[in-house]
């Protein structure tokens, strides 16, 4: 079949809300766009383990510790679902990991900020996972089948992540004045980076229009950011904490909150590698990969031995 005919049929499928599956014909740019987005998403899950893992050994109780361990394990799992979804598009696992380690591939800028106190673990679950869920719920309806299925599974599992974070925030916000101050400090530091998680404003977003046409993205960055702000403000008010934005006001006419200007200079600095922890994160990933080399070799040797025994 001719390319134009194939493309026409592809567009019709997108139009009818039919999912695109791995073996279906797709425009090369659709494939590339999906590989880029899914692998970035996978890398974010993997790098996202690092700031939180920092606190596993210092969790204040066993209850908090098992929850944090389970959450970090989930993130490893989510990274793996996503890598395998990307692989259905013909990319290679090793290549994706190499791209992360070489700095060629991007991941969510939020994970380049440090977790300096225990309250950060609460703020991450509440805000960072809250923002991620807002984005991911929308992606459950993305047009590429394996990506959509991975998102459904991830969303089901992530709801606990946000709740455990908010529970930590509650414990601290209703605790001693010192604890409440820690909670406020964490909110102050994580609020703006969380809003940046939705990416550049619609006018400046490089990949957005094509992704929207292909229904890879279902809502624009600004729409999702607004949704997140709208649902989060009341949660902060309940905690008795102040969102660090003097321009935050409720607009009676639109029924939405309007908020202050995001520091885009900071955003672009962090995604281009100059955030507080960019180097540390990539080094930690590389080290984990290199330190794990002997495990992979041992697994190969063991698999070989098992194969030989079966032959004998």
């Amino acid at each position: 079949m001719e390319t134009t005919a194939l493309e026409h049929r592809f567009n019709q499928k997108i139009e009818r809300e039919e999912k695109i599956e791995p073996k279906d014909w797709m425009p090369e740019d659709y494939r590339k766009n999906n590989i880029r987005q899914i692998s970035q998403h996978a890398h974010s899950e993997i790098v996202g383990m690092l700031p939180e893992a920092n606190w596993i050994t210092r969790a204040p109780s066993l209850r908090r510790k098992v929850a944090l361990l389970a959450k970090v394990q989930d993130e490893a799992g989510h990274g793996l679902y996503l890598y395998s979804a990307a692989e259905t598009l013909g990319t290679d696992r090793e290549e994706m990991i190499d791209d992360l380690h070489s700095g060629k591939a991007k991941y969510s800028s939020i994970f380049n900020y440090p977790t300096t106190t225990w309250a950060d673990i609460g703020a991450i679950g509440w805000l960072v996972d809250g923002a991620a869920i807002t984005n991911q719920v929308a992606l459950c309806r993305t047009s590429y089948g394996p990506y959509a299925r991975a998102m459904v599974k991830i969303c089901k599992e992530e709801s606990f992540h946000q709740r455990q974070g908010y529970e930590i925030m509650c414990a601290m916000a209703f605790g001693t004045p010192e604890q409440k101050a820690m909670a406020q400090d964490a909110l102050n530091r994580w609020w703006w980076p969380s809003l940046m998680m939705f990416g550049p404003t619609d006018g400046d977003s490089v990949h957005s229009q094509k992704s929207m046409d292909w229904k890879i993205k279902r809502y624009s960055n600004d729409e999702l950011r607004q949704e997140f702000v709208d649902k989060t403000v009341a949660q902060a008010e309940y905690l008795g904490l102040t969102i660090p934005d003097p321009d935050l006001t409720y607009n009676d006419e639109t029924g939405h909150y309007s908020f202050g200007e995001i520091d885009w200079k900071e955003f672009y600095q962090v995604i281009s590698g100059n955030g507080p922890c960019n180097k540390e994160r990539i080094e930690a990933r590389r080290k984990a990969h290199e330190d794990g080399a002997w495990v992979r070799e041992a697994a190969n040797a063991f698999a070989q031995k098992r194969a030989n025994q079966q032959v004998a």
Binding site: K23, Q73, L80, A85, E94, R296, A299, N300
Partner: protein, 95 residues
């Protein structure tokens, strides 16, 4: 040697006895036994299943989407294969 050559396995999970195994995703492993162990960690963290199948992805033979018309179209006009095609007198009741 790295895990460069670890093959890809497709993972199928039976959520409970009485239901079929259902495809859930894929993973890399040195061999099938390791694939089962990894599948347990990656796809069964919340009581998702009681049984796991892993199949080397290279062993899956799939139909070509290009053939979809030839394969599935002919069934569409054979409505006489469905019970609703036939009329049964009301007096007879449910059949």
């Amino acid at each position: 040697m790295s895990n460069q050559n670890w093959p890809l396995f497709e993972v199928f999970i039976r959520s409970k006895n009485g239901l079929s195994h259902k495809h859930v995703g894929s993973l890399h492993a040195a061999d099938a036994a390791m694939a089962i162990e990894n599948a347990r960690d990656v796809y069964c963290r919340r009581n998702e299943g009681v049984s796991i199948w892993v199949v080397p992805s290279t062993q899956i033979v799939a139909s070509d989407p290009e053939d979809a018309e030839a394969l599935y179209e002919p069934a569409k006009d054979k409505i006489y294969r469905h019970p609703t095609f036939y009329t049964v007198p009301d007096e007879v009741g449910h059949m």
